[in-house]
């Protein structure tokens, strides 16, 4: 059975339909990429799944339980935790303390929480910044902090919202490495990305949104050859590049 099932989820803002009957599922232990051009409704969908928004229609089922409209903290406690695209550090707390807040979800013991937090800091390359105020981190550090903090909650499903945007090639490689390691440790991942090349090599499945609707759902190899995806999202030029097998860092 799938760990997360999104069934016909619809979210409207007045006249604007941000998500129109979107359905897909995320299998346990897999990496699912959620891509689409700006304004496709990716972050809105994330907000619907994580409880920040209440969808007007449809259901979100996590681990066999209907979580539609549950408050965010309850969804997080069940094990579905997300990061924010626009980073939200707890500014006047140190980097370690930020991660501790996450770590306290599974234990009330400070020692245990510390061990877990330090581990997550190491995994996300933040140990050097441990005692800095989170508000003072450079943007790359803040992105990694988002991830470390979510990770510290011990999630079953980790939902990453554009954590790779703005990274250079080396950083991107390191980030992909971390994601793969997380998957190997048993965490299911759903990754929203604008940088398509980033997610393609590691995803088991890619869901493509455009204009609020799902236009494709398939393995990456077929996604890059999907006519609609190329048209809607990549534009003719980019599509050709990918078809020819060019991979690597995004250039724009």
């Amino acid at each position: 059975m799938a760990l997360l099932e999104v069934r016909e989820v619809t979210k409207k803002f007045g006249q604007l339909v941000a998500n129109d009957r979107i359905s897909f599922s995320v299998e346990e232990g897999s990496i699912v990429g959620l891509i689409g051009p700006n304004g496709a409704g990716k972050t809105t969908l994330f907000n619907c799944i994580s409880g920040l928004f209440k969808p007007e229609g449809g259901q979100v089922v996590f681990d066999g339980k209907d979580i539609t409209g549950e408050p965010p903290y309850r969804i997080a406690r069940m094990g579905a935790v997300r990061t924010f695209q626009v980073v939200r550090p707890l500014k006047d707390m140190s980097v370690l303390e930020n991660v501790l807040v996450g770590a306290f979800l599974r234990t009330s013991d400070r020692g245990e929480a510390l061990t877990r937090a330090e581990e997550c800091l190491r995994l996300c390359n933040l140990t050097a910044y441990r005692d800095r105020m989170a508000g003072d981190l450079p943007i790359g550090g803040k992105k990694r902090l988002e991830m470390a903090r979510a990770l510290a909650t011990g999630p079953r499903l980790l939902m990453l919202d554009e954590v790779m945007a703005g990274l250079n090639t080396t950083e991107l490689k390191a980030a992909l490495d971390v994601i793969l390691r997380l998957r190997d440790s048993g965490i299911t991942l759903m990754v929203v990305e604008h940088v398509m090349e980033g997610i393609m090599p590691i995803a088991d499945k890619v869901v493509v949104l455009d204009g609020g609707t799902k236009i494709a759902e398939d393995i990456p190899a077929r996604i890059v050859r999907d006519e609609r995806v190329i048209e809607a999202y990549l534009g003719a030029k980019y599509g050709r590049r990918l078809k020819n097998g060019t991979q690597g860092g995004s250039r724009d």
Binding site: E97, F104, L105, R110
Partner: protein
């Protein structure tokens, strides 16, 4: 882990401070001065009040101007136990704390849906409502208030007439209880959750923190401790009426002492009280004769200056001095 078991330097300093405070009345010069003891007692009381407010206002970031209501409930709890029912204050103190926590939760629940100034003004409104309701409520003494009868002094009745030592040690006890609780909270899960809610409610929720529960819990603890301070206040004044305890000015004292000392820090409330209270009491003593009000004029200007110059409070000033000293020390060493 390194900092779990061993007492760190900061805690050692606090213990040292407590030892000094405990021995202070044994110094003849201090204990001989009735006024000096009075000021010390007020410093400890206001530090405790500010620390109680600091839980919800500083750590949890919900700026309440309603704490005089809880303070008043505590004062009336003790006052009614002694005056109305002729008993010992202790049951009333406990009842006042519990009642304050319950009232706090009931009124905060709808208020937490308000943001910014709307929340602040709602808490003002609640103070005014309580103030006036108590003025006409015969059962609690109405506008006349409650006057303590002359009864036997001592710890059982929590009352002394001739000397101030008894009150001093009670105030110190109060200080230890309130600061101890906040110190404990600071290093445990609830303390981290409070700060997370202050820094970003949605972020905290995304990490599994039930922010409503955290805010209500913080408010309940804060209110109960404010009530405890209120019952000490009434035992010390031997009288209570609504404007004395449930007023906007009293609420402001909770906020001002904390913010001027440094909100969201353990030492801030003590620093605020240690600077502001002696200043208030001594300006009153020195300039009180000049037609009244001069002490509060100076106080008003001082508030303006501190808020404008150092929004982090006195603790911010100290941190600044510490930093520049360290820098100077560093360059001196470098030069030598």
């Amino acid at each position: 882990m390194m900092n779990t078991k061993v007492i760190d330097l900061k805690d050692a300093l606090w213990l040292l401070l407590l030892a000094v405070l405990a021995l202070l009345p044994l110094v003849p010069f201090v204990s001989g001065s009735f006024f000096g003891m009075h000021v010390l007692i007020l410093v400890l009381l206001f530090a405790s009040m500010a620390q109680a407010w600091n839980i919800i206002g500083g750590y949890c970031g919900q700026v309440s101007f309603g704490h005089s209501v809880f303070f008043g409930i505590g004062a009336y709890g003790a006052g009614m136990a002694v005056v109305t029912y002729g008993g010992l204050p202790w049951g009333g103190i406990l009842a006042g704390m519990v009642l304050a926590a319950v009232v706090a939760v009931i009124i905060s629940y709808p208020c937490f849906k308000l943001t910014g100034h709307y929340f602040a003004i709602a808490t003002f409104a609640i103070v005014e409502i309580f103030n006036r309701a108590f003025l006409v409520w015969e059962w609690v003494g109405g506008a006349l208030g409650l006057d303590y009868p002359v009864i036997e002094e001592g710890l059982a009745n929590l009352m002394w007439y001739e000397t101030k030592e008894g009150y001093y040690y009670c105030a110190l006890g109060l200080f230890v209880i309130v600061f101890g609780i906040v110190r404990w909270l600071e290093s445990h899960r609830f303390g981290y959750y409070m700060r997370a809610v202050r820094e970003g409610q949605e972020t905290a929720e995304s990490l599994g923190v039930n922010s409503t529960a955290v805010k209500l819990g913080a408010m309940a603890i804060s209110a109960a401790l404010a009530a405890l301070c209120g019952s000490f206040f009434v035992q010390y004044n031997l009288r209570v009426d609504p404007p004395m305890v449930m007023s906007l000015d009293m609420s402001m004292k909770f906020v001002l002492v904390t913010i001027l000392g440094g909100s969201g820090t353990l030492a801030g409330p003590l620093l605020g009280a240690a600077v502001l209270i002696p200043l208030q009491e001594y300006t009153r003593a020195f300039w009180g004769g000049l037609g009244g009000g001069v002490d509060l004029m100076i106080f008003g200007v001082l508030i303006i200056v501190i808020v404008i110059k150092e929004p982090a409070g006195i603790i911010g000033i100290l941190a600044g001095i510490g930093k520049s000293l360290a820098r100077r020390g560093g360059t001196a060493q470098g030069g030598a």
